[in-house]
Structures are given as C-alpha cells and as structure tokens.
C-alpha cells in the first residue's frame, strides 16, 4: 500500500520525463529539418545565382536592349564609325563589324593597323583581340568573338605609321543565339 503513492510518483516522473524527451525530440527534428532546408536551399540559391550571372542565364531570360547598329567615336585625330554589318550582335564568332576611319579633314585613313579588344562591362571576360582587315577607302572589317550575352565594350586601337596609337570605345549589347 505504501508503495502505491511512490509507484505513482515514479510513474508520473517517468511520464513527465518521456514527455520532455518527446518535446525535445520534436524540437530537435524540427531544428534538424530547418538546418537541412537552409543548407539545401542556399545550395539551390547559389546554383541559380551562378547560372544567372556567371553563365548568362539572366541575359537569356531577359535579353539586353539592342545597341545602335551604327556608332561614331572620336579617337585622337580620327573619327571612327562602327557598323554592325551582321545585325544584332550574337554570342560566338560569326559577327561582322566594320569600321570607317577618317582624319579631321574627312580623308580616309588606309594604312592603319586596327585592333579590336572586346570585354564585358559587367564582368571581366577578355577575349583574344582581333585585327581588322583593311578594305580600302578607310574601311576595315573584323569578326569579334563574344563569349556571353550582355553588355560589351569594343576598344578599337588605331595605329597609323608615324603617329601615336589612339583608342576609341564602343558599347554594344550581345544576345544569345536564338
């Protein structure tokens, strides 16, 4: 008889302990779920962000606005007119761009060496420079390579014999191939 109250107390203690353990276990499994979700979720977020910025997914889903097909820039004593002959510039090496170089008097500059260096303005993505082919009458043709869609800057270096090299810059937008 005397054991009954002690037994009940012990049972109640055990039940309380079990409830506490169950609560702690539930909390622990919730915490575990949250921690796992945070790690997996951040992994997915990092993957999407890398694809968006590093691989150009952003420019694929939201193509950049087209750049002007014809632009004019001044480079020292020269006026340089750039034309995107192949239309909208696309990723790859199949773009055709031409430059017309004239001096201050409007005369065509025919003997210059024209080199074009392309780089993205949002991320350093230098590509091998290309040398333009002279076509006569101050015209030079080049096929620049673009490795990703987005905003690019073409830096044109004009090296005329007997004169210091000068530079002109053109901002263009490049899209992914459809």
């Amino acid at each position: 008889m005397r054991d009954a109250p002690i037994g009940e107390a012990a049972a109640m203690q055990l039940a309380g302990g079990a409830r506490a353990a169950s609560t702690a276990s539930a909390r622990s499994s919730r915490t575990d779920l949250v921690a796992r979700s945070v790690i997996i979720g951040s992994g997915i977020a990092v993957c999407l962000l890398l694809a968006w910025g590093h691989l150009g997914l952003g420019a694929y889903l939201f193509p950049p606005a087209p750049s002007a097909p014809r632009q004019v820039a001044i480079a020292g004593p020269y006026q340089v007119t750039m034309s995107a002959d192949s239309g909208q510039l696309l990723v790859g090496a199949h773009n055709s761009v031409s430059f017309v170089v004239r001096d201050r008097a409007g005369h065509a500059v025919n003997n210059a060496m024209i080199q074009i260096r392309a780089d993205m303005t949002t991320m350093a993505m230098p590509v091998p420079p290309v040398t333009a082919t002279p076509l006569g009458d101050g015209r030079y043709a080049a096929r620049p390579l673009f490795s990703m869609a987005g905003p690019w800057r073409l830096t044109v270096t004009i090296a005329d014999p007997g004169a210091p090299a000068t530079h002109a810059a053109f901002d263009v937008s490049v899209r992914w191939n459809p």
Binding site: G43, V46, A124
Partner: protein, 137 residues
Amino acid sequence: MSIARQYARIFGFIILAIGILGFVPGLSTGVTGSGLLLGIFAINPLHNLIHIATGLMALFAGYYADGSYARLYALVFGIVYVLITIAGFTQLLFINGSLLGIVPINTADNFLHLAIAAVALGVYILSGEQARSRAIS
C-alpha cells in the same frame, strides 16, 4: 575532428575571405568589386556575394551543432559546383565549336569551380568512410 567538419570550417573561411577580398580596391584589375581577382578569376559584385554566401553557409555547417551538417553541406555544394562546372565548360565548347579550340575565357573560373566540386565530393565520400570505420571500431 571529422574531415567534413574540418573542411567546412576551413573552406568557409577561405571562400568568405575571397568574397570579401573581391571588394578590396587594388586586388582586382577593374573597378571595385569587378575585374580579374588577382589577375586570374573573373569576378563582379554578384560573384563576390555568392562567394560570401557560400562561405557563411560553410561556417554555419561547420560550427552549428558541432558540425553535424558539414557532410550535408559538402554533398549539396559539391553537386552545385559540379553542375556549374559542366555548364561552364559546355558553354565554352558550344561557343567555339570544338574541344581543341576552347577559348580561355572564364576558364580559370571553371577550373576553380571544378576544384571546389572535387574537394567537396571527396570530403563527402571520405567522411562517410570515416564514420563507418568509427562505428566498426
């Protein structure tokens, strides 16, 4: 200390530092936060933030609950960087049309991602073997 926990803590500090250093003037070739970090790796503010986020997650996994989630972190981010690496190299092949003509654009970044993936997945596998051998002994 388990290899996964060590990896998460060390890698976390390193990649976090890389993300922060990307914003330090003078360490990249372009304007602050952009350009080529140490003249090699193409970065921009988004890239730096990704590195910071990756580092913070690694430190969380390496320190929270005594590093219980470090192995999961190694698996998740190993898979993430494998996917990014494959996409990065595939993009290069697609642009230039041939394996031998890979243009060295962002290739340094692709190899860095490949190394991160290899180490992460290697840690995941090794930490599994470590746990199994502990259980046996």
